[in-house]
Symmetry: C2
Subunit: 129 residues, 2 copies
DNA sequence: ATGGGGGTTCCAGTCACGGGAAGGTCAAGG
DNA sequence: CCTTGACCTTCCCGTGACTGGAACCCCCAT
C-alpha cells in the first residue's frame, strides 16, 4: 500500500503519516522507487495513533501507549496511569475554559451591542470592573 | 518605570512584555541607556492585555479589542461581536474536551489497573471496541 | 575592583503538523 | 513515443504565544 491509500484508510493526512515516520512512530518499508510501502501492521499502528490523538493524547503519550500495546507483558496499571494523567489535564483545561466562558457570558449579556461606545466588556478589560 | 517593575505590577513576565512590544501592542519609550521606560498608560495597556489573554482571546483579538478600547467612537456591537466569536470557539473546545473526557472516563473505569496485561483502553485504541 | 542584580539583543525551541516548491514515477490515452 | 495528470519524494518555512539561554551592557554598593 502506498501512502495515499493508507491516508484514505486511516483518515490521516499523508503529511501526518510522513511526520509519524520522521519521529519514529511507524516504520514502513520502501519500494525500489523510494515510495513508502505500508504493511497491514503499519496501517493498524496508524489507526491506533489516530484514535489516541483523537482522544487528545500527546505524541509522547502515544509513543508510550504504543510501546505498552506491543508489550505482551505490560501491566494494565501502567496504561491506566497514562490515561488518568491525561484525563486530569483535560479536566483542568475544561475548568479553565468554563471559567472563561462564564466570565465572557456575563460580560456579553451586559453589553448592549448597539452603536454606542459604552461597553462593559471593555470596561472590565480596562480594569474598571 | 523599568521592565522589572512593570512585570511585578502587571504579573506579566518581562519576556512577554518585550514580545508585546516586538509585535507592536505596546510602545514604551527608551532611556538613554537603552532601557525601556514605561509610562502609566503603557502599564494600563499591559494590564488590559493580560486580562484579555486570561480570557483566552488571541493576540489578534487583543489587538482589535485594544483598538476599540482606544476608539472613542466605537460601537459596542463591534466589541460584542469579537467576544461572541471567541465564546463560540471556547464552547466548541469545551464540547471536544467533554467528549474526550467521557470516552476516557469510561475506558479508565473499565480498566482493572493491575499487573495483568488485559486492558480495555488499549483494546479500544487498537480498534477492538 | 568586584560582585550582583538589573537591563539589552538575538537565536533556538516548543507542539503537531500544514503549505508549497522542486523534482522523480507511473499508468493511461493519443 | 509523447504527454498528461495523478501520484510520490525531500526539504524548508510558518504557525501561536511565548520560553530558555547565551552573550553582553549598566548601575550601585562594598
Amino acid at each position: 500500500m502506498n501512502i495515499g491509500d493508507v491516508s484514505n484508510q486511516t483518515g490521516l493526512p499523508a503529511k501526518t503519516i510522513r511526520y509519524y515516520e520522521d519521529i519514529g512512530l511507524v516504520k514502513p518499508l520502501r519500494d525500489d522507487n523510494g515510495y513508502r510501502r505500508f504493511r497491514s501492521q503499519d496501517v493498524h499502528k496508524l489507526n491506533f495513533l489516530g484514535r489516541a490523538r483523537a482522544l487528545g493524547f500527546t505524541i509522547e503519550d502515544c509513543r508510550t501507549l504504543m510501546a505498552l500495546y506491543e508489550d505482551e507483558t505490560r501491566a494494565s496499571a501502567d496504561v491506566k496511569k497514562v490515561a488518568r494523567a491525561h484525563m486530569a489535564q483535560i479536566e483542568a483545561k475544561i475548568a479553565d475554559l468554563n471559567a472563561m466562558r462564564d466570565t465572557l457570558s456575563h460580560l456579553i449579556d451586559a453589553c448592549a451591542g448597539d452603536d454606542r461606545p459604552d461597553c462593559p466588556i471593555l470596561q472590565d478589560l480596562g480594569g474598571q470592573a
